[in-house]
Amino acid sequence: MTMRSRRLRRLLAAYGADPGRWPAAEVAPAQARLEISPEAQARQREAQALDARLDRAPAPVLDPALLERVVSQAAGTEQEAARRHLPWRLVRARPAWPQLAALGAAAALGLIVGWSALLPMPAEVPPPDVVALTLLDGLE
């Protein structure tokens, strides 16, 4: 598969002269195009000159002790891990509170209904007119 010179120019302009920085899938076709194109070779030399200058940029000084500091700081936030424990997470579970409230209400209702079924039924009271007739019968 051959690469258009325009694409190769774009690669050199974006990623520089080093094929190690080019997109992996385009390295082989780009190098094939480079071999046959003096114009592309000239552009690669230009890109190389800029790369050489960029490589002279200051390099950061890394502090090897930083990792230990970060790890001990993380250990200091152990309470964060404690929050992962079940009870705390239940408290934090704000989105679930409505469901829990509904569950509680349903349980309470069930208890009330069940409890009332266990209570002794009141003795049957005859209607007042029957009571009156019985009394009248007694008087007679």
């Binding site: 002279r56 950061p60 424990h85 997470r89």
Partner: protein, 235 residues
Amino acid sequence: MTALTLPPATTAVPCDALGLAWLGRLLPRALPRDEVAWDRAVSEPAAAVAETLDARSDERLVALVALGQHDAFRVLGARHLPRVQRIAWRMLGDHGQAEEVAQEALLRVWTHASRFDARRGARFSTWLHRIVLNLCHDRLRRRRHWLGLGAAAEVADPAPHPLARLAAAQESERVGAALAALPARQRTAVVLAYYERLSNAEAAAAMGIGVMALEALLVRARRRLRRILATEEEQ
């Protein structure tokens, strides 16, 4: 080599173990993360448990970090901290601030590891680089100027002769100043793709843009750098 130690049983008690599976279903937002991490961490064959942490992928280590595993966090930090420090330093140009950003980024990994979900095909490094870049851009927005690559910097290739060394230091300073003159997004693209040699897909993902947009930023950045450096040479 760090040996794997399983987390204490109290770190994340799966609801099923307590006979509270119904509660787990009832509280879907409260309980899933650590259980997912737990499943990922322990669903390997027994032989794999003996595997060292060093050999584990970033994504497996993050699952262990979500369970509060310090050893996994240390391995992950050792793997990524140097790059995180370099990116922050090249973005901010200040050693102290770069260290603060690197520290903050890793602590966010520690506290928010359970938010990372590798099952969606996400890469840990992309997630971490985004955290670092966001922290850097926040600081850049606040101060609105770049401090320049100053005292903490080392000249890339110090020459032995004092005069040559001075010339190298001046050249280094010029290149640092040219990088500092780039707009933040162009500088980010150069830092990730050129200096850190991330693939174009990784760099684009870390910046939250497409590959073509990344290439456009790189082309503009290199054109600008060439112009700045050429102008300085003329002067």
